[in-house]
């Protein structure tokens, strides 16, 4: 199998770090619309208290704005919201990207409609190999990015020690992985920073890397407890039903009793951990070393 050499990850001394914000709830676009331009503080303010768990390098200012969910097929933004976000990004001078989830077949037509609204060169964060194929075949002027669900790694915040984490290495540097992404026209990876991770975990990856902060995701389901809130009892906790997007109104926060593990939460079908201070520092170190060239801020 042949492989294509990518341009190495840009060195942070020669190119400024990119800074993105990923918005899931399209209704919140209204609040963003009040801004004539967006600053790093505008982005950080969106995180609330969690802003204390991100280290944004000096001089980093917003370059990207993303809309959509990686985790739920019910949260694909409407074409009206996409149009609005694209127009806002033009005003702000930011690059727009659409974020997409693992998809059932019923989502492909809405996805086509959404992708058709994007300006040429827009990024599409794909988390499903089928969606990656769709983008490549039908929207060749868009730029697919492999999302967190395709960059597999162990992220269990309950692991007793780093030894456990080392037992399950990731395959992000494997030649076939690189070749498959090349074949799909994917030119960038978006990844999490895992518990017991280190800055150099991103070194040697053959693609430019963006890291989501300050929340990593642990697990996501198709069955959604909160999304079943409005369903009759026998219909709850099953695939293929309608959803009222209750996850946008409520969140669950907690811990395992008697532990001092990472702050953990669940929103809808997805569990998250929040970075600790040391993890934020490690991501910053990875940026300094040029192993990561983008930070994408997002909530949980």
């Amino acid at each position: 199998m042949t492989s294509t050499q990518h341009t190495p990850t840009p060195d942070s001394t020669t190119r400024p770090i990119e800074l993105g914000f990923a918005l899931v709830d399209e209704r919140e676009l209204a609040a963003f619309a009040h801004h004539d331009r967006l600053t790093r503080d505008d982005y950080l303010d969106q995180l609330g208290e969690a802003r204390d768990y991100v280290t944004v390098p000096d001089g980093a200012e917003p370059t990207h704005f993303f809309l959509g969910s990686e985790f739920c097929e019910h949260l694909l933004p409407s074409v009206e919201s996409i149009d609005r976000a694209v127009a806002l990004c033009e005003r702000w001078g930011l690059a727009f990207g659409l974020v997409t989830p693992i998809a059932c077949d019923g989502l492909f037509d809405p996805l086509r409609a959404a992708l058709a609204r994007l300006p040429a060169g827009s990024e599409v964060t794909v988390n499903d190999w089928g969606v990656a194929r769709l983008v490549q075949r039908e929207f060749p002027d868009l730029r697919p990015v492999a999302g967190r669900l395709l960059g597999k790694m162990l992220k269990d915040p309950r692991l007793p020690s780093a030894t456990w984490a080392r037992m399950y290495p990731n395959g992000l540097r494997a030649g076939p992985f690189r070749d498959i992404l090349d074949g799909l026209g994917i030119g960038r990876l978006e990844l999490d920073f895992p518990p017991f991770g280190a800055a150099d975990m991103y070194a040697g990856i053959d693609f430019p890397v963006g890291v989501r902060a300050p929340y990593g995701y642990i697990a996501k389901g198709r069955i959604c407890k909160l999304g079943s809130l409005s369903l009759d009892t026998p219909e709850k906790f099953s695939p293929g039903h309608k959803c009222r997007r209750e996850c946008l109104g409520f969140n669950e926060v907690g811990a395992r009793p008697g532990t001092h593990e990472l702050h953990t939460s669940q929103r809808g079908n997805t569990m998250y951990y929040r970075h600790a201070a040391g993890m934020a520092a490690a991501v910053a170190e990875a940026v300094r070393n040029g192993w990561v060239n983008r930070i994408v801020l997002s909530g949980a």
Binding site: C104, L107, G221, L229, P239, G240, E252
Partner: protein, 348 residues
């Protein structure tokens, strides 16, 4: 439609095939693997594996003599690049002793096996979360012969794939063991129970917060708490009704037997029984249960009669009526509401 059953010892081959399984899947931890890589993680399960190559050969020999096929699970969610050559060698060795297919989730390993062991079939593991037509096309292009669909798909979604890609075998879950999260998007390990076990049943104590801060108002909180109680009940079903069996020995837990006529009509090639780590008796009773339903389908009994038969097999129809023990609850709902057309539900 064939029954695919799990095994963890050579002794299980004969009783499972005699009970009706035509396809068997198993894992193996080669003796040098732990020394080489300091992990027993050759596949998704640390336990429930064969002891070594000698056992694997016995399994293949016994199964072949009984006209059954054997599949080897190499289905960790991801492998390090340092593992790929060793795993490809395992695949080649398995093929050389008569193994039929490898069950794989990691795309790099799929590509490596397809390139280097071309006569070994590749079954895309449920851990790969392949659950749409385009994704199935992607894996077929990589060299896959079969897609094992993840849990939590609808029969209509299965039918979409079988219709669009008739050359690809499709396998779907029918019995036992339910994950809460999608296997391919759950980046945890099943810790020993004294350290928490699977994360989906670990002892997390969560409190609700309203988006933007503060507690939900009282009425919302009451609804959320009632929903939590329903969820706990669903979890109980999801994990084998508290890891129990029916009085007649048939296993409880996630079940799609009443959906088998619809799955058969949809062109499903094989129905999968989960539970490599389970006791032999549980595996045998599982295959018996599914085989009894399959016999009726193959005999041409009407769909409603087969469904009624399946629901009655454990003599506790209230569990089926709960809707929480189903892999394909829409089939039960369709029956309950008299929707004979089987309306296709979509995501949005």
């Amino acid at each position: 439609m064939k029954i695919t059953a799990p095994i963890s010892t050579p002794a299980e081959v004969e009783p499972l095939v005699r009970a009706g399984a035509r396809e068997l899947y198993c894992g193996v931890v080669p003796p040098d693997w732990i020394q080489r890589f300091n992990t027993s993680g050759v596949n998704r399960r640390v336990f429930g594996n064969l002891n070594g190559y000698a056992d694997l050969e016995r399994v293949v020999d016994k199964a072949t003599a009984l006209d059954a096929e054997v599949f080897l699970v190499l289905n960790a969610q991801q492998y390090g690049e340092q593992h790929l050559d060793a795993l490809t060698e395992i695949g080649a060795r398995f093929r050389s002793i008569g193994g039929k297919a490898a069950i794989v989730a990691d795309i790099s390993l799929i590509a490596s096996l397809a390139a280097n062991v071309p006569d070994l079939d590749i079954h895309v593991s449920s851990v790969a979360t392949c659950r749409n037509v385009e994704s199935a096309r992607f894996f077929a292009a990589l060299g896959a012969n079969r897609i094992i669909l993840p849990r939590d798909v609808t029969v209509a979604e299965i039918a979409a794939i079988t219709t669009e890609l008739p050359e690809l075998d499709v396998e779907a879950f029918v019995l036992n063991d339910g994950c809460v999260f999608e296997e391919g998007a759950c980046h945890t390990v099943h810790l020993p129970m004294n350290k928490g076990g699977p994360i989906c049943i670990d002892n997390y104590q969560f409190e609700y917060q309203a988006t933007g801060g503060g507690q939900p108002h009282e009425r919302a909180l009451r609804r959320l708490e009632q929903n939590d109680l329903d969820y706990k009940r669903w979890l109980w079903y999801r994990f084998g009704n508290g890891f129990s069996v029916a009085p007649n020995g048939y296993p409880w837990g996630p079940c799609g037997t009443c959906a088998m006529p619809a799955m058969h009509a949809a062109g499903v090639h094989s129905v999968k029984i989960a539970g490599r780590e389970g006791a032999s008796e549980r595996k045998i009773k599982s295959v018996e249960l599914v085989a009894r339903v399959l016999e009726r389908i193959e005999a041409g009994e009407p769909e409603h009669a087969v469904r009624e038969f399946a629901v009655g097999l454990r003599d506790a129809p209230s569990h089926c009526a709960s809707g929480y023990m189903c892999y394909y609850p829409e089939v039960r709902s369709r029956q309950a509401t008299g929707d004979a057309e089987g309306k296709v539900l979509t995501a949005v």
